[in-house]
Amino acid sequence: MSTKAWDRVVLARRADRPKAMDIIPRLFASFYSLAGDRHFGEDKALLAGLGFFEGVPVTILAQSKGRNLEENMQCNFGMLHPEGYRKAHRLALQAEKFNRPIITIIDTAGAYPGEKAEERGQAEAIAANLKLFSTLKVPVIAIVLSEGGSGGALALGVADRVYMMENAIYSILSPEGFASILWKDDSRTEEAAELMECTAEDLLDKRIIDAIIPESSIGFEQDLNYSLEIIRNFIRKDLKYLKKLSAKKRNDLRYKKYRVMGKRL
């Protein structure tokens, strides 16, 4: 458990680390993917759809990285454009309509920093999700799978429960971006990673996440079922509890969860 933060960053970004597309079919039965934001286009960086979790229909919103270059070209290395966030927005409202719980999987270095993304309102798309998810009337559970970078990750991270894989990182910005902003030197990434307090233990310590999902000692990808069983247990337990609460109560608790983050006056 004493792995240096930078080692975690490297581990979290490994190509052979399980991606959303590896996890989803194993966690959810009859996964049926849905596409498009109904305004501009389809963003393959967000793998989204419907499926059964142990017999219960749920909506799944997952940031999707590829396992190789070809897959990564398709899903833009897991970096969403505004239409990706708007697709999540659309499907979250749909989930609310049909009273389906939402499971989000976070795995992105950040929202895509491109000309077209800015043109189509990256900031607005993220802000709209933060606002919507804080008042959604269905249970929301978020899992930080490998990399949770900046507002682009948080846009799928406002939830009743937030879990994080043991070797995932979750931070205000990528270590590269952090070093570049703070020291105008993006070679000091290792130093940045240490300073940023971005490991699962750091986040649990600050109560940003609810629990850490352990990974097998022989490697997350080597024994996927080890972690999946723990994830299943968390989701099962949470859904049972969250569904018992009224929507209002759930919303009040979710509000409070974020309201107390950081120093208070």
Binding site: A111, Y112, P113, G114, E115, A117, E118, E119, R120, G121, Q122, A123, E124, I126, A127, A128, L130, K131, L132, S134, T135, S150, G151, L154, A155, G157, V158, Y170, S171, I172, L173, G177, F178, S180, I181, L182, L195, M196, E197, C198, D202, L203, K206, I208, R254, Y255, Y258, R259, M261, G262, K263, R264, L265
Partner: protein, 291 residues
């Protein structure tokens, strides 16, 4: 011509009166009659006095200079109406990030502010409002835990007292030194706004130079009405980062207010001299109709 000078003189007097009357507020710089400043846009020399009476807009090229939070408030609200809330809140001692404490003290000394946002209540044309003004001289106006907490509190205050809410944004985004807790302020402020919105509260944002990163991707973009000052930089990712990603030079007007207006993300660009009137009009339009 005389008429023009008279109008300018009146405006200067009004500004000076305001600065005298509101003792609680410190003006960033006392106006030195002889001092001269150079406009960063047209490079022309301007008398500081003339600049001040023009609300820090270059009289030659209309460039909008950054305003301190206090100058902004003085130029906008009814005389003596501003009452600051949570003025003493500071980030000092919040964590052990290297050099952070020294930086905070340096900015506090330089700006006479405790943090990068000033919150309070005020009146515009006798209508009571909840008002937050960010000050980008304080660590780029970045949002750490205290900025997020003050803004959230103001939203809750506006919600509780049923006041219209106006926020002037000017920020480089979430504050790096406070890490993930800065990021979470985006969720916190947005959640508070969602509740305010559910209670039909009126929220207007005025985007001023610069509004980027985590602030643009949270409360800045959530206004019922979004206004911006001319040529303000507004966007999510930094220009340098984008140029590195796309490996192309971006157009000059990229991420300006004009660009955002054209792309449909803001309602209107408002010249600083028209802001008070615009906000008055909008506040009146959002009052409960008298039956």
């Amino acid at each position: 011509m005389n008429q023009l000078f008279k109008r300018r003189r009146d405006r200067l007097h009004r500004f000076q009166d305001l600065t005298k009357k509101d003792k609680g507020l410190k003006v960033s710089k006392p106006i030195d009659e002889m001092a001269i400043e150079v406009c960063p846009q047209c490079k022309q020399a301007i008398h500081s006095k003339e600049l001040a009476l023009n609300l820090y807009v270059c009289p030659l090229c209309e460039a909008h200079f950054s305003l301190s939070a206090h100058d902004r408030i003085l130029s906008l609200v009814d005389p003596k109406s501003f009452k600051e809330l949570w003025a003493k809140a500071k980030s000092n001692g919040i964590n052990k990030f290297p050099d952070y404490e020294d930086k905070l003290i340096k900015y506090q000394d330089a700006t006479h502010l405790n943090e990068a946002v000033v919150c309070g209540t005020a009146k515009i044309a006798k209508i009571k409002i909840a008002l937050a003004v960010m000050d980008n001289r304080f660590m780029m106006g970045s949002m750490g835990q205290i900025v997020g907490e003050k803004i959230t509190r103001l939203i809750e205050y506006a919600n509780f007292h049923k006041l219209p809410l106006i926020i002037f944004t000017a920020s480089g985004g979430a504050r790096m030194q406070e890490g993930i807790l800065s990021l979470m302020q985006m969720a916190k402020t947005s959640a508070a706004l969602a509740r305010f919105s559910e209670n039909n509260g009126f929220y207007c944002t005025v985007l001023t130079h610069p509004t980027t990163g985590g602030v643009s991707a949270s409360f800045a973009m959530l206004g019922d009405i979004i206004l911006a000052e001319p040529k303000a930089l507004v966007g999510f990712a930094g220009r340098r980062v984008i140029e590195k990603t796309v490996k192309e030079q971006l157009p000059d007007d990229f991420q300006t207010s004009e660009f955002l207006l054209d792309k449909g993300f803001i309602d209107r660009i408002v010249h600083r001299k028209d802001l008070r009137q615009t906000l008055t009009d909008l506040l009146l339009l959002h009052q409960e109709p008298q039956s």
